[in-house]
Amino acid sequence: MSFYSSVSELLRPVTQFKFSSLVNVSQVRNATKRVSGSRTNKNDSAGRRLGPKAYENTFVKPGQIIMRQRGTKIHPGENVGIGIDHTIYALEPGYVKFYYNPFHPYRKYVGISLKKDLDLPTPHFEPRTRRFGYVELTGLDATKEETRMSRKEFLATPKLKALQEEESAFAHKTIEYFKEQLSEYKDTVEDENMGAERLFKIYQLVTVGQPLEQAQIQATFDYLWDLKLAHNGADISTQREKYLNFVEKFDNTVSVDFSNLQDAKLFAYITPQARSAKKQEITNKLETSYSNKVLKASEKSEVMNLIKSPGIFSQKEQTDLTDTFLPKVLPLDVPGSIIEDVDTKKPPKGVVITRVYDAETKTLKVVGRPKEVYSN
């Protein structure tokens, strides 16, 4: 606005007053408005000093603040963190980059690029640029740091050591036991130590659920792998051949019944065909002479021996057979397993009084059952 126009505004009323009839009336304005401000106008505070604290391509150290803000005016991108008040700070040493992210097109981001000429965001399918950041120790510091334990490890050490000792003692005992049993097969098994160790390895692998054939292959593989490592790349073909021959002979001579792992027994090897034939034979025998009747104690032990004949049934098959032929309680429809006319107050010797459900009358009946009905 020019000087003339501003002054003319002020001058115009004076010229008007010259011709007005109200020339001598002066206006009086009373104090109708309260003074001393108002309640609502006092809430101003000092500036919070918000805004970026580091700019594009500034080098920052970890922890350095990049942005102070209310809410996320700018979002945290690569290699930066965000605080409770949305302060953005560096997590890695590098160069500040402000950028847009194609996955969130309406957001501004800030991140740290580890190299000045690397732009952000990192292309989606490219590998990340990462900083290692740890310093190598040497000499005494290194040995000290290497042996240093966490509290958890330190507290667990005695327990772990005891466990290890227990394991090695068990291994030693079992290997000795196998060696003792192998002495029976002296004619065919030349190296008892090797044989016993092989059996122990197979025993361990079968314990964790591997089938016997697979465990045998694995034991061979492990032995040859260790042999290869021990010779550090030297030619081991002769030793390899020798061991493979030993294995073939050994596996066809002796086998272990791993179905009952508590007392694993050695027995002469049987071919799979002979084994399945034997399986069939035993099952038939059990079906014909030991099913659907009350078994005496001696008969029960015969059944148990048949089921546990070494090397015939797997552990699962054994439990299935035990469930079928030696159940905890015989079913009610087995002939001779219920004694109806019995003095419930004073049962004869060898009879157990029990209540059974009668489906016909839909009532509970008190009957006697021979003791042999129960497996224990």
Binding site: K61, P62, E92, P93, G94, L114, K115, H124, F125, E126, P127, R128, T129, R130, R131, F132, G133, Y134, V135, E136, L137, D141, A142, T143, E145, E146, R148, K201, Q204, L205, T207, V208, G209, Q210, Q214, I217, Q218, T220, F221, D222, L224, W225, D226, L229, N232, D320, D323, T324, P327, K328, V329, P331
Partner: protein
């Protein structure tokens, strides 16, 4: 009992057929001369109880079997549904025969491929509601015959419903993609286990992302690669295609750049795999190991305070037989390797490792130098690459 739990297919089947009535159908599912024996239940007792009703033979325990009562009219309903589904399956088998005859006369490869796809689908549809197949899939894992399209379909569905999702989550969250390869379109299921382990917690299949101690990985793993897609095989369902397997650690410390390099720990190539023969196990390594291996197995043995490291196992499908003489282990570039040899990544697996007390002994076994020791506090020295 298992009829209830069998799978979504059987339930859907029974609902959809309750409206229909059967008329003199062909007994396709009981006929085994042209169908594989893996499509029927092996155990005669269980098969009998399935079709003749009564107490289910799947319950072995006598007491529990005695206490079990089937739902009212289940046997009648089952038979009705079974007959109808068998009739529909008969139609599908008719389509199969037609497609097969078309295939023999067809010469154009493109149309042939389409026909094969159709044939495969028809074979799946013909058996997908067969209760015997569903029983075998659910309870008798020995009878799952991957050469049968229906079992492959069931295996694929099971994999997609859980294991695949777990794998992809771990690959992304642990940044295996894109740190090793840009991305993965999973086509095969990759399972890994270390069978030398005698402790039960380390002897079974590894869940992707698990942290393993050094002693648990000190010998080569068994890798099972289940193929689902039909393009994997060329002629008949049992022919094999060639695969390359590579194990890398992208977290090997590189002090000169204050960053990481990728190290190659295991490399196999020209491994023939098919639907049925899908394992690279100790037996195979014992006989053909030398032939497959272009970089022998060295376990990942992290140094003290070098933080947790990822063992990334990649399975590639080859386009042709490869001749990889030997490979530099240090600074291995897996992207370049895949590009040079024209390999397509089809599957991956990941586990993790960190320094533990067994590392030093295994380093000695493998004649490796003693590992470096790093300060446990991370410094602020900038990246130097």
């Amino acid at each position: 009992m298992w009829r209830k739990t069998a799978s979504k297919y059987s339930l859907r089947a029974i609902h959809s057929t309750s409206k229909c009535l059967t008329t003199g159908e062909k007994k396709v599912w009981s006929e085994l001369s042209s169908r594989s024996s893996s499509l029927s239940i092996k155990n005669a007792k269980i098969k009998k109880s399935l079709f003749e009703g009564g107490k289910p033979e799947t319950i072995v325990n006598i007491e529990r079997k005695a206490a079990y009562y089937s739902p009212v009219d289940i046997d009648k309903t089952f038979q009705l549904a079974y007959d109808e589904l068998a009739r529909v399956s008969g139609d599908k088998y008719a389509l199969v025969d037609e497609l097969k005859s078309q295939l023999t006369s067809e010469t154009d490869t493109e149309i042939k491929a389409q026909l094969e796809k159709k044939l495969n689908k028809a074979l799946v549809d013909a058996e997908i509601y067969n209760p015997e197949v569903l029983y075998n899939f659910e309870y008798d894992s020995e009878l799952i015959d991957a050469s049968q399209p229906v079992y492959r379909k069931l295996l694929h569905d099971k994999w997609k419903s859980h294991d695949l999702m777990v794998l992809m989550q771990r690959l992304e969250q642990l940044h295996v993609i894109p740190d090793t390869l840009p991305t993965l379109e999973p086509k095969v299921e990759v399972k890994v286990k270390f069978p030398h382990n005698t402790k039960s917690e380390f002897s079974s299949w590894i869940v992707p992302g698990t942290v393993l101690p050094a002693f648990a990985v000190c010998k080569p793993p068994t890798i099972e690669i289940t193929l689902f897609d039909e393009t994997a095989v060329t002629d008949d369902s049992n022919s094999s295609s060639l695969y390359t397997v590579v194990l890398v650690n992208p977290d090997e410390p590189d002090l000169s750049t204050n960053s990481f390099t990728t190290k190659l720990h295991y490399g196999l190539s020209n491994v023939p795999l098919s639907h049925t023969d899908n394992q690279i196990d100790s037996g195979k390594l014992l006989t053909d190991g030398e032939e497959f291996t272009f970089s022998s197995y060295i376990p990942i043995l992290p140094e003290k305070n070098a933080q947790i490291q990822r063992a990334c196992l990649w399975v590639f499908r080859q386009n042709e037989p490869l001749t990889i003489k030997s490979c530099e282990r240090e600074s291995f570039n897996i992207r370049e390797f895949a590009a040079i040899h024209n390999l397509t990544p089809v599957g991956a697996h990941v586990w993790r490792q960190t320094f533990d007390r067994s590392v030093n002994a295994i380093r000695e076994q493998y004649h490796l130098p003693r590992g470096r020791v790093f300060h446990r506090v991370r410094r602020t020295d900038p990246y130097m690459g």
